[in-house]
């Protein structure tokens, strides 16, 4: 539904965005690929100008076989998996609760959503010091109140601590999206099933849950993309110590801390592949939605 004039105008107007994003994607990607096949240690005098030694797949093999690789993958998967389970489960329950008639619904909704707007460094720091501090933290006070020994959260229970912080940050997102989905449920459908005599639990199982399934899938996929690259929460709290080194953090350390660019780049390529596997599923769903 357009003319030649508008089509050529459209191409012109789309060009800046396309060119910029193409550059943003390709230039660093090609550089990362390039470095991943090179020995590149800037601190030992390797420079781009001086020519870098080609090492083939050596970086990939070394990154893969290093003692920190598998633990970091495991840590990543535990954090992502746990946060997903917690946020989706609690998010669904919260969405259903917030959909019920009550006084001050709008205010409650704001209370629940607020953590999403807190910048990651702030939430990590507030949790680390004011809640999880083994002496002065609120949780320590709570434990002492029940005559229990306060937990050394970030050193002894480091993974659950990180999971707790990240879940707190992402629960609002899951809740908000699931709430939107719940509210879009056709009430006639529910009323019809009520007329048919379906009990409450059955109605939830056969009507509400299937209706939510798409929203849940989207929450899972989008959160996975973001969770795979959480950074500030670890950077500020444990700095990757106590078994909280995720793949992202490991690569960060290789690249910027120990300045082993070749090795870090190989790790980066692994991370890109991992993210793309998730991305493919997400794109499928979004793409399907685009047709309607």
């Amino acid at each position: 539904m357009a003319t030649q004039h508008s089509r050529s105008a459209a191409r012109m107007m789309m060009a800046p965005a396309v060119v910029l994003l193409l550059g943003w994607m390709l230039v660093p990607l090609i550089m990362t690929l390039f470095f991943s096949f090179k020995k590149y240690l800037p601190l030992r005098g390797d420079t781009l100008g001086g020519g870098l030694e080609w090492v083939g797949f050596q970086n990939y093999v070394r990154f893969f076989s290093s003692s920190s690789f598998w633990p970091s993958v495991q840590t990543t998967l535990i954090i992502v998996g746990s946060v997903l389970i917690i946020t989706v489960l609690l998010g669904t329950l919260l969405a259903l609760l917030l959909d019920q008639p009550m006084w001050g619904q709008g205010v409650v909704r704001i209370l629940v959503i607020a953590p999403f707007f807190v910048m990651p460094t702030v939430s990590a720091l507030v949790w680390k010091n004011m809640f999880m501090d083994p002496v002065n933290g609120i949780l320590a006070h709570l434990w002492k109140f029940f005559d229990a020994v306060p937990i050394q959260w970030l050193s002894h229970e480091s993974l659950p601590s990180i999971i707790m912080i990240v879940s707190w940050q992402w629960l609002p997102f899951a809740t908000l999206i699931l709430l939107t989905a719940v509210q879009s449920l056709d009430s006639e459908q529910l009323e019809a099933s009520e007329m048919d005599g379906a009990p409450k639990l059955k109605r939830f199982w056969h009507i509400v849950l299937p209706h939510l399934s798409r929203a849940i899938t989207i929450v899972i996929l989008i959160q996975t993309i973001f969770l795979l690259s959480i950074f500030a929460e670890i950077f500020v709290t444990t700095g990757g110590a106590f078994g909280t080194k995720t793949l992202t953090y490991l690569i960060f350390q290789r690249v910027l801390d120990s300045q082993n660019v070749g090795l870090g780049s190989a790790g980066g390529v692994y991370a890109i592949i991992l993210a793309n596997i998730v991305a493919i599923f997400l794109m499928r769903i979004v793409g399907k939605n685009l047709d309607t």
């Binding site: 105008a9 607020a114 006070h141 998730v278």
Partner: protein, 276 residues
């Protein structure tokens, strides 16, 4: 559902939902409260909730010691600049895809989205290197560019879904009325899309404000925004709860307020229109 609910039911829901809501909100509330305490009261055992000597001293100290206003200014420039630039590039692109769709439009949209999924850490060094080469490291301009690029797909997607809701007839009417393309976009499309454009800007401002990978890795003293300002409290100042709270409150307050306005847009923007 237009059906009477017993007020007993409603009361139970209310109590239940409010308790959970307050529990979730508690860390923020506690931070705000603590920011008004003295350091001694902040670590008092047992914790004091409301009956302490309210003071603004912490705010003054934080500003004086770490120059809060400078970081705030950086945050505003970086988040605002990247949002404005993104809108400037995004509006024409979204116009094209919404009103002059071709066979490739869908592929282009999905491809744009896919750039958003590139893990930042995978391209950290190249960007770092390019920034050094171009003298952009620790510059606000460099961050404006990077944050604009990482949020551009979301900007275009959101605008696209908003533009899609504007009837093509009206744009065609403008064309028949003798409007050039520029006038069509300026006098007809933009005013009609103002609510959508505003929502898009709001959400992207929030996302840019809170971005904490590139802002931490590409800045030092000069261009650091609030994310980095707070990260610097990691130690040892973090042990001064009241000051940490004051700094935190100042870092999140602007965005909490903006966030209240953007709940609906949040869903649309972050699910790429897949959940409405």
């Amino acid at each position: 559902m237009a059906r009477a609910v017993t007020s007993q039911r409603k009361a139970i829901n209310t109590i239940f939902a409010w308790s959970i809501g307050l529990l979730i909100f508690f860390p923020i509330l506690w931070t705000i409260l603590t920011s008004f305490k003295t350091e001694a009261q902040a670590i008092n055992d047992p914790p004091i909730f409301f009956f302490f000597d309210w003071t603004l001293e912490n705010y003054a100290v934080v500003q004086e010691r770490s120059d809060y206003l400078k970081f705030l200014w950086n945050s505003i420039i970086i988040a605002g600049g990247s949002t404005l630039l993104g809108i400037l590039i995004g509006v024409p692109a979204a116009w094209s895809m919404a009103f002059v769709p071709s066979r490739r439009t869908k592929d282009i949209l999905l491809w744009m989205l896919s750039t958003k999924m590139l893990p930042a850490v995978g391209v950290l060094y190249p960007i770092y290197l390019l920034f050094i080469e171009m003298g952009l490291l620790d510059s606000r301009f460099g961050l404006v560019i990077v944050l604009m690029l990482i949020n551009l797909p979301i900007i275009i997607w959101m605008l696209y879904t908003y533009f899609k809701e504007i009837p093509v007839d009206i744009l065609e009417a403008a064309r028949m009325d003798g409007a050039s393309l520029r006038n069509e976009i300026m006098y007809v499309l933009t005013p009609m899309a103002i609510p959508g454009i505003a929502s898009t800007m709001l959400l992207n401002f929030i996302l840019a404000w809170n971005e904490a990978f590139w802002t931490l890795n590409l800045t030092a003293a000069k261009a650091a925004p609030l994310t980095a300002f707070i990260a610097s409290y990691s130690s040892p100042e973090g042990l001064f709860f009241a000051k940490l709270s004051a700094a935190s409150t100042m870092a999140i307050a602007p965005i909490l307020i903006l966030g209240w306005f953007s709940q609906k847009q949040l869903v649309r923007g972050l699910t790429f229109g897949a959940v409405k």
